[in-house]
Amino acid sequence: MINWQDHLIVVPIVLPLAAAAAMLLLKEQRYRLKALISLCCLMALVGAAYALLHEAAVGGPGGDDTARVYSLGAWAAPFGVTLVADRLSTLMLALTATLAAGGLLFSLARWDRAGPRFHALYLLLVMGVNGAVLTGDLFNLFVFFEVMLAASYGLLLHGSGEKRVRAGLGYVAINLTASLFFLIGVSLIYGVTGALNMADIADRVATIPAHDRALFHIGCAVLGVAFLVKAAAWPLGFWLPGAYAAASAPVAAVFAILSKVGVYVILRLATLLFGADAGASAGFGNLWLLSAGAATVLFGAAGMLASRRLEQAAGYAVMVSSGTVLAIAGTARPEAVGGALFYMAASTLAAGALFLIAEVLARGEDQAVSPQDAVFDDEYDDPFAADDVQEVGRVLPASTAFLGGAFILAALVTISLPPLAGFAGKLTIFAALLSGSGVLSAASWVLIAVLTLSSFAALVALTRLGVAGFWKREGAPPLVHSPEFLAIGGLVLCCLWLSMGAAAGLTYADKTGEWLATPRDYIGAVLGGGA
């Protein structure tokens, strides 16, 4: 008898792949059936992701923190490819499934028919992300990165049009370049350590001969650059806002997770390879991550301020969120990493919701803020000049009210204003940065200042864009179709749920931070055998 529980970990990869492959056998006209298939598939993925997350949260049979390891082809690590579901990867799985479900729902209103084979590409994208976060093998990671990126190229161009094609050209060129770096990095690491399995590499880091260490570090640096390009860190991420803004809304929403995959890998490898046990490599790259992260946050914040359209601002918000996690990864403080992860989950969901809202708002109306616009409309000679006192408010249609509410919630998370999850995450970061005895490092203060500044910029930018999109709007209210309603509502509800369940979420994130800080457990779980 098959024990399905054993194979649950591979479901997030195999299921979408099989569903997508089966869909290719169906004709284009049968889009309803395809929509049904992908919807069911994503529901199953959500279920699988949360089951794995739950397992990671409550721990294994021993009740303690552990990682579920799956050896593909029954070839044990480090020889075969292994999948590892630990706290971090299941968090990413759950986030991906949730966001993807939202995007898919949204697309059912009309976007899934804007070009051929949307559903297959969409599921393959999800498969790529799932594979990338689950795999414990560096080269297999490359393969899944490519799956994810290849599908993202297709999806970015979905719906066609000049804007998308132009953005797509740059996006493809840059990611191809980054993929080449990826290969150089992986092979260089193999050339030096003779290992591809991440746990295996981590196991050998401390014993790399001194004369080989520079080469190993070069490999890691090149690899790091490849991931930072994908995570859209400054100065490698200039492609992101334009590409995400050009993508169709459901695609942009699910893209919010793509850059986080880059962040995920950085976090995974930095904690695994350069932890305290890494000998001469301990702490390698932390300062760079810190600086690149802070620079990314500042650049993203400036980008948000300079944005004229909501989807553009949402793109920069994705950058800010990546930058925040990168910078925190650079501090190598487990509690701060926990906060950053919680923040990342919330901000990613919120960014997804913002992309969807932006698209609905843009319908039929140009809500762009013109660059010539002053920050405010009137001239301030006398604020009480008007005698137009007896005002009558306007009736808001339910759709606008709904969108407005959703926007406010998503914006609160993005700005990290209380009481929502973004706030809880940032607060945890602050508290962690300020914790510990003795004099606080300058980096902590700088980071707090940078993060506060970015919140402020986000506040100004989103208020402005929100006012322009909702309050200044003239003409007919935007029409929201019911799948879109469900999608936006669902994502925002997830943000809310994350905020309401902050206690559980923060505990999970906090323990994840601790788990990452003790890579020995991961290495032991992988190399000690598994399913």
Partner: protein, 967 residues
Amino acid sequence: MPHALLLLVPFGAPFAAAVLAIFLPSRARNLAAGLAWSASLIGLICLAFLFPAVATGEPVRWSTPWMPTLGVNFTLRLDGLAWLFAVLVQGIGALVVLYARYYMSADDPVPRFFAFLLAFMGAMTGMVMAGDLIQLAAFWELTSLFSFLLIGYWHHNAAARDGARMALTVTAAGGLCLLAGVVVLGRIAGSFDLDVVLASGDAIKNSPYYLTALILILAGALTKSAQFPFHFWLPRAMAAPTPVSAYLHSATMVKAGVFLMIRLWPVLAGTDAWYVIVGSAGMATLLFGAWSAVFQNDLKGLLAYSTISHLGLITLLLGLGSPLAAVAAIFHTVNHATFKASLFMAAGVIDHETGTRDMRRLSGLRRSMPVTAALAIVAAAAMAGVPLLNGFLSKEMFLAEAVAHTGGRHLNLALPVLATVASLLSVLYSVRFIHQTFFGPEPVDLPKTPHEPPRWMRFPIEVLVGLCIIVGVLPAVTIGPVLAVAVRSVLGPEVPYYSLALWHGFNLPLLMSAVALIGGVALYKVLGPRINRSDRPWVVGRFNGARAYDRVMRGFNLAAEWIVRRLGASRQQARLRAIILTCMLAALLASGLAGLGFDEAGLTVQRPGLGFTLLWVVGGACAVTAAWQAKYHRLAAVVLVGGVGLVSCLTFVWFSAPDLATTQMLVEIVTTVLLLLGLRWLPKRLPGLTTVQEAKARRRRLTDLAIATAAGAGTALIAFAVMTRPSGSPLAKYFLDHAYSEGGGRNVVNVLLVDFRAFDTLGEITVLGIVGLTIWALLRRFRPAADSLGETEQKRIQNDSDDRREDRAVGDTLSETMLIPRVVMRWLFPFIILLALYLFLRGHDLPGGGFAAGITLSIAFILQYMASGARWVEERLRIRPLVWIGGGLLIAVLAGAASWLFGYPFLTSWFRYVDLPLVGKTPLASALVFDAGVALLVVGATVLMLVAIAHQSLRKSRAAVADEEAA
């Protein structure tokens, strides 16, 4: 316990009612108002029940974990101060709700308004009842948010939008600082719990982070309570409906800042830094607000600046740092709330009934609305500090404190004088407010005929004015007990002696009061007309905080745009350059600049052979020339890249990689065809047609050349460093050891691909499939550029020439040219299929495999397309690439999933030798099924890629045919 649970009601009721209100129909104003009113009344009743418990001096608490990892709890904590503020929030809230019911137009969709108002009330209550610093900051930001929604309620009005945004920007930014501040404070105190924090005053004041915490917290408090120079948002917020102004600017929003300073007064006040910052801000605000209020012509404007001034007064009192001053501050907070709320409502009534708020147009309203006039006069008198009214009492305490602080510190001497001046100004604007509105001749040319407002619209004003009088006359009986509890909750057991008596005898403060009263009236007599003629305050009128704010915000914007432009890159080349340079820099830094360890490692170099060197002379020459030719001679570049491919294929041959050589060769062929297919759609490029400035371009090219050279040198150096080191990968050993015994194949590379690392292969073919899909999707909507439309030049010329000759038909040149190639290519087809089969079957033991077989098969197809044209082939051989791709993927996945049936992980392979009749012992491996999936997919995807591009020219000519038919 019931007490603790009772706490939840005043906090929760407004939120619950807000949620209900948002779902009410837009015309249900009575229902909405009733809901709001009941919520606040219920809250008030609960608070009343709670007073005895609070009065014992022990805070009533209710707590539940919120963010346990941070030790942050959600705690409702009601002590005297919180009780006082909660009552103010809910009491004045109830009155404002009643007032708003009549103020708002019947056509206004008020449920939304009441929902926001209730939510704001709840946030305010939550803030004052917060028992945790983080919770306090959280509700603080919520009040900013809901005030934003309230101020912008009439959002079709630009002033409302801007006022709302400005209020939010300033107060929420302050809130962000506050948040950082309380985190620092919490770090010093070791907990965010208010009780713990309040108990660690000494630790806080002695901490090295005290100043940081203080500045951050004050940044929150001072912006929120509109202290100079952050006061400017408050007048702009007057664009809100008047009930909102009455609520926000009397008892709630602006008092949040004051509340925070009182709340943390025990642990933050008393230091020099506190004195300087809070005291100066308060003093500056007091004077600036009062002076500006004098010159306002709008009723609400006057009240707005008066509010600023009074907030300055309270802040100044808190800044003084003495317990008595703190008592005065608390007392004045309450008093200001009552008279200012009533004045705002009165202004609203006037506006509502006359249609204007401009004091220069208003006049003599005491005749048409005598009751309102009487109420307003009393309230204004309280504001001016006239005896027998509550404002007088707290102002006397203020003046007394000003006098008491004369000794000691630097700006102290000025304190009594400035306090008197401020009081005088307060009298002046109060007199102006009353005199110009209610006295004088009958008003002319008002938008509406003035009359008294509805009974219940006036009721809230009556209540508040009544309170002003009762408290003013009988302070000890009315406000005394409440104030005592509140003061004790702030100051603890060491409450100083203070008296709430009306009469303290003839003393300096009384004299100052008298001077202020008489001087104010006198000054109004003298300056009144001149004030009316000036449209901005004298002296300080040039300073416009809002404009300064706007300039700052514009500066932010410009800076942001500058950053995005200068530190970002909008052009692709710049982006790629940044990425490559960053990568090189990262590699350089990662090497530690200490070399690659050549000395220690000990080189093991194989002597370069002549043959291999010659080979790479060829390769290098091809690469460099390809780079050189790629712009103007694209075909040459394709040819030369083919040369590079051949050289790398031979390199694989040279160094023991037969599989790689085979695959590289096949891919090489397909890539060449692919590039050529694309070349057809690119524009003609003639040398010397560049429009860019040549010098600039040359400089850029030189830079790029330097980058490229450095990148090449670096890569070469790294490759050399690794190649010359001894290897000893345990992986290699394991795979060589187990390939045959456990993988069932001799070709270790193939066993790696279909067994050990089959998961990579599964991903790889997925990529291929996705790319096929994407190309197909893209090309379905392909639209060639104008200059690539129609037939190629060659075809046109050759067809024309066919057309001209009588013995030939159009297309003969093509068919004659292809005569020989067609025969060969067609008969080669079965042989290539055979080759594909051969490569497929032997892959597990010898070079070959599913991928090579697939590519070979697709070349067979491509050859037919090239020989006979797409239409000819497709009439005979229907290839459905998407089905091949999907089928291939499915087969591969199912081959992998089959192992589940036997309880093994995904992709576990199975092999066995089977004795077949005739054939004999034959290896059967599940990996072969997997590889078949690979081959299928590769055929599908490769054919799809090439054919989809090729189809474009067909489609266009079909379209052209259709055009011709139409014409």
